[in-house]
Amino acid sequence: MEHNGFIQEQKTLEGDLNSDTSHKNSVDFLMNWFRKRSIFVLAYGTGCGAIEMPPTFTSRYDAERLGIRGAATPRQADVIIVSGYCSYKTLRRIIRTYEQMSNPKYVLALGSCTVNGGMYWDSYNTIKKLEDYMPVDMYVNGCMPRPESILEGFIALQKEIGEGKASSWQKYEENYEFYRKNQEAVLGKKVEPSYDADWYLYDGGL
């Protein structure tokens, strides 16, 4: 069979997934199982990481075999991928998008830029640590991470979801003041992005 290697790879990837036993009761277990096997991804393509996502989701690496597929809108998504450095302007949109998603929601951050600023560590208009502004469930480091690493990151995230440990959305709700303070420190009092005509009429740009 020409697909044998492929099936073996999938078994290796999924072997880790099926080993979790830490669940409170059977309903929790079932809910988490369905959640981990079906992940709709909102790929927010910022920075260089955007180019690594098309091969992850299309024919070469085919994330759909693990139940991971793209979502069209934030309303339908479970996971948002922040794929690299975030300028202040982008951060507004990311926060807005994240807040539009319905619970439970998870964040996957790609690349060193989201961990500590990466090569943009002294830039005047990018944020350094994504975790200061919104919660992150899983980091995939590298500059940039290859699709294989992204898939491994997804598997690790699925494992955490299956065990019920991935709960950044609760963390965001509980520590909202902390996150809001950090957001306002770089974005000003009005964190939400402006739409339509008001950006040049009222806000002085941005």
């Binding site: 096997r37 759909e64 075999r65 069209a72 309303r75 319905s102």
Partner: protein, 295 residues
């Protein structure tokens, strides 16, 4: 007794619908040289959405949209008998004929239009506008073909039409079948007529503002509706079925043909789709109607 019958029909349509949807994703993946998701992936997706929390609110009409769509799909299913013989899986078919089914086919999209219209998402409104524009063009050849079949069989009863075919209508009146088939590809939401929910143009269109349980409801109704439409086509053109094996075989062959078209062709623009549907299949259906009535 009829309640049990209806419930069983619903269960079968739900299970087979989701199985077909899973196969659709898997087979499309093979067309694209991918491994593809497992066949139960669509079912897992819909159950997961039932477990999600609702965070949006657009008033009650918005939430009635998926409910009306679901009732449209279920009512369509109930009026289509699964088998041409026997007493089981007949549903409400003795109380309604093909006219009722043709009417119920458009109930869902119209109800959804009311719901999505109150949602405020521009992509939803764009998707609905595209969908309803396409619906006008899509119905014309399909209705001509179905009405021709009804007048040729001398009956509007689905089971009678199905059981009276000595040679399948698809082979006896090939032009009518081709015209209805082109429309049917659009009804199944496949390329080249998948303009309402075009992923990179209007971001899943009518479904763009729905999340959680309502999206799960939309997925479930889509699975049930898909099976109902397949059974309708099998009855009208492929001689119906007398048992589950025959029904599943015929619907699956029809389904494979439809998704093969969907996997091969690109998407029309909305005006192109309307132009094509109004010119090509409508002409084929009218010629088929004339030929069938003359001979």
């Amino acid at each position: 007794m009829i309640v049990v019958d209806l419930l069983l029909m619903l269960v079968v349509a739900y299970a087979v619908g989701f199985l077909y949807y899973g196969l659709y994703r898997n087979i499309t993946a093979r067309f694209q040289r991918r491994f593809g998701p497992p066949v139960w992936q669509s079912f897992i997706d819909s159950i997961k959405f039932f477990f999600k929390e609702e965070s949006t609110s657009h008033g009650w009409m918005f939430y009635l949209g998926p409910v009306i769509m679901m009732s449209g799909a279920i009512m369509t299913l109930f009026f289509i008998p699964f088998f041409t013989v026997g007493d089981t899986f007949q549903g409400l078919s003795q109380y309604g004929n093909a006219f009722v089914i043709l009417y119920l086919l458009v109930l869902g999209p119209l109800g959804n239009a009311l719901g999505v219209g109150t949602g405020g998402s521009p992509f939803g409104a764009m998707g609905i506008t595209r969908g309803l524009t396409r619906l006008f063009a899509m119905e014309l050849p399909f209705y001509i073909a179905v009405i021709a079949i009804m007048s040729l069989s001398g009956s509007a009863d689905i089971a009678t039409i199905a059981s009276e075919q000595t040679t399948f209508n698809a082979f006896a009146y090939p032009l009518l079948f081709i015209a209805a088939m082109i429309s049917f590809i659009g009804m199944m939401g496949q390329s080249p007529f998948d303009v309402p929910g075009a992923p990179v143009e209007v971001y899943s269109g009518p479904a763009s503002e729905f999340s959680g349980k309502f999206l799960a409801l939309l997925m479930s109704q889509s699975a049930i509706f898909t099976f109902a439409k397949l059974v309708l086509m099998v009855h009208l053109f492929l001689g119906g079925a007398s048992g589950f094996l025959e029904l599943l075989l015929k619907t699956f062959i029809l389904f494979i043909v439809v998704i093969a078209f969907g996997a091969i062709y690109g998407r029309f623009k909305t005006p192109q789709a309307v132009d094509f549907l109004l010119k090509v299949p409508t002409t084929i259906a009218v010629v088929g109607l004339i030929l069938a009535t003359w001979s």
